[in-house]
């Protein structure tokens, strides 16, 4: 594998890869007879064009930061957690219980208890596959996938039997009381005397950024994180250094599940103010792509989450504004991004190496 300087590895190659994905997406749009330029225009306006649209972008970004971080923590321990979807669903149950129980108080209490509950519920749901792996050697890819289905089934059962208000036929909880709604970003800004229009994202976006900082501190500055990374690179070195593989597996998966669970607070407490089916909306799976493209580094994940958030929001606007472009097209574009940035990075990497080598100074120093 050719070596590249760090800036090229971490900035140039991803940017060129995204560029290539955009190029091929343009070809896809062209192939159904629409103008790619117009599509890009509509998409980027839809994602960033005004505070209202950007608010939605940030809302989706928040979801993807949590689920992307969740995948990356497990990945650093050498574990592939595909169960973000189920862990987020479970976290949603925790958040909803906090909302139903405490919505007569105020949003600060609901938020704090809700964050704690969703972490606890998400961790719990990840801890079961982790336990099965640590004690029985069960393949965690398979168990976490299966737990997604179990969680989805449980949620249906809970919503249609226990949590729905009496007299209602819809499988969802009642709306939480107004006072318990977590403030949106525009509300927060307006506290300081401004007067700006509705921004859909709420202060849990800031929690997501804090979580990214926290995950960075955990992975690269804490002893436990050091042990997790050591375990992820080599189980045998971890044994040699005296770490318990049971402990590391449980901790890494619990943190991973807790982060996935946090995603639910954004949807349940921050936006929908009730628990309903399908509130995760694939964010758990998108987290895998986000983590892959963000190279499992918190900063990369925040940026990749923004990219996917923009694609999500801009894509919705796109199919609304240009009905000839079907909603599925945006999934094609996302797939192209994953393909070029995640799976085929060497397609860009090797020409980049060749190009940079040409400009390398004689003493072998990179530019």
């Amino acid at each position: 594998m050719p070596q590249l300087p760090r800036w090229a590895e971490n900035v140039l190659v991803p940017i060129l890869s995204v560029g290539l994905a955009v190029l091929f997406s343009a070809l896809a749009v062209l192939s159904i007879g629409e103008s790619p330029l117009q599509a890009v225009q509509v998409l980027s306006y839809g994602a960033f064009g005004n505070p209202y649209n950007f608010g939605f972008t940030l809302y989706y970004t928040t979801n993807f930061i949590f689920t992307g971080l969740a995948v990356s923590v497990a990945f650093h321990a050498g574990l592939f957690n595909i169960g973000g979807e189920g862990q987020a669903l479970f976290g949603g149950i925790g958040a909803a219980l906090a909302g139903l129980w405490l919505d007569s108080t105020n949003w600060i209490i609901v938020l704090i208890i809700g964050l704690g509950a969703s972490i606890a519920f998400g961790s719990l749901w990840a801890a079961v596959p982790a336990f099965l792996l640590a004690t029985r050697g069960s393949n965690i890819v398979i168990t976490t996938i299966m737990f997604n289905y179990i969680a989805a089934g449980l949620l249906v059962a809970l919503l249609s039997n226990v949590l729905k208000p009496t007299g209602s036929d819809a499988p969802r909880t009642r709306q939480f009381a107004q006072d318990s709604h977590v403030p949106r970003l525009d509300q927060v800004i307006n506290w300081w005397g401004f007067d700006i229009a509705r921004i859909e994202a709420n202060i849990i976006f800031l929690v997501a950024l804090l979580a990214a900082v926290g995950v960075w501190l955990f992975l690269y500055r804490s002893r436990l994180g050091y042990e997790v990374r050591m375990f992820g690179h080599s189980n045998s070195v971890s044994d040699y250094s005296g770490q318990s593989s049971f402990k590391i597996t449980m901790i890494a998966m619990a943190i991973s599940g807790g982060l996935a669970g946090l995603m639910a607070t954004n949807a349940v407490l921050g936006q929908q103010h009730q628990l309903s089916l399908g509130f995760v909306g694939g964010a758990g799976f998108t987290g895998i792509a986000v983590s892959l493209i963000g190279r499992s580094h918190p900063l990369g994940i925040v940026l990749a989450a923004l990219l996917f958030g923009a694609l999500f929001q801009g894509g919705a606007e796109l199919s609304f504004e240009i009905p000839a472009i079907p909603t599925k097209m945006i999934i094609v574009i996302q797939a192209l991004v994953i393909l070029f940035v995640g799976a085929m990075e060497n397609l860009i990497r090797y020409p980049t190496v060749a190009l940079l080598t040409m400009f390398r100074t004689r003493n072998g120093r990179w530019i």
Partner: protein, 544 residues
Amino acid sequence: MTIAQTTAVRPDRNSMDQILSTKERLQPTAPAISLKGINKAFGLVQANRNVNLSVAPGTIHGIVGENGAGKSTLMSILYGFYQADSGSIFINGRERRIVSSTDAINAGVGMVHQHFMLVRPFTSLENIVLGAEGGPFLGNALKQARTLLKQITAEYGLDVDPDAVVEDLPVGAQQRVEILKALYRKADLLILDEPTSVLTPSEADHLFRLLNGLRDSGKTVIFITHKLREIIELTDTVSVMRAGEMSEVIQTSRTSIPELAERMVGRIVQFEREKDPARIGKTVLSVRNASVKVDGVARLKNIDLEVRAGEVLGIAGVAGNGQTELLECLSGMRALDDGSIILSGQSLAATGSSLVRFLRASGVGHIPEDRHKHGLVAPFMAWENCALGHHRKSEFRRGPLMDITSMQADAGAKFEAFDVRPRDIFLKTANFSGGNQQKIVVAREIAENPDLLLVGQPTRGVDIGAIEFIHNQILELRAAGKAILLVSVELDEILALSDRISVMFDGRISGTRLASETNESDLGQLMGGVDNREGVHATTPKMG
């Protein structure tokens, strides 16, 4: 001993050279391989600097050099893994452009890698055919390969069972499969990269006979190693690589181990080391009746041993006779099925990871046999590996977090004290040469000033300069009154460092000797399980 062997080989070699040189004079043939002005840089590092090399057909040419001298880079260029920045390759007098291993194979170059490239659950035959099936269906290819293999096998005396599953074969036989693979692809030039590093002495002898046979039938062999004795024993010509530069080709018969060592390291290397007499203290470690089964197979059978302060107990033996399991048990990584380990009078009770941590906290250092498997995390930056296992010490802690400033300062100090090169604690560990990686492990374990140091194969895959350094470190620890248990398959190393030597055979200790009262042939017999001095020495002889 080395000197004796050198001189024993010499007369043959001289006559060989005469024959060769007459042959060359009569019919000047093009060299089997000739490299002209090869340059290759990786970032700042000039791995190959204007390398010229010419090897006559039908000879064995040795390339020696320290780790990181550029040998493997050069061979990777020859085999198409890398491309040279400049320079050209001639094979049998024809210039060749080699940009992939396919080009190399087509040019008649075969490579036997240090770490075998075999599919372990496949049979030898399937491995040999793999990649050269010649069509979508296997049946025909396997049939043809089988007949061709029979010919090759008969011709060169390469005995390999074609239907044996590779992972069931001993390492020496796996290597022969690799050689067969190359011969099956009609290689005329065979490159072997550190081929003996994984072999027992008898397997190495077998390989040497095989290579001599290949040479006699006209094949050309390039043999890369840093074991100088092998160069003297086997090769016709030799060249030395140092810091990316290649020396001229030297007739092996006209050089000697000290001269090669000096060319390799760039200074005079001290081979014999004067040891101060041991000042034996209290028993630090004793093992009583230890037995271990791995997957139902008994690996340790009633082991008794004792290590005392101020002495080096050497554990010799052919690899795979229980030494690995012994070290694993002593370092807490594997639980005993029976028996006990007593450290400074205290019997060890805990098991698993807590025992490993307890031992480390109680002053037991452990330089593991396999630094890649146990000692280092290759993608970590060097400073992260300098604290591995000790990272929970209070001085590396700041509140709930790691104090990375103090960890990095500590790593810098270790780099300085143990002369790790390059002096860059932020470099990825995998980018250091083998010797310097090993120095990182040695530095980490010795800097803790352990009361008992468990050492496994401390100089495996390590160059001469680093070997000398690591040996001196171990002897300094001994002089400081620490107890050392040294496991090594290199008899030279065992004899140079140990005060007492126990030999392991089939999970047992087949005999224990005072280093002053034994020699290679005595130990060699013990390694085969034969003790012809039975009863002369008890397990723990009186000393000093």
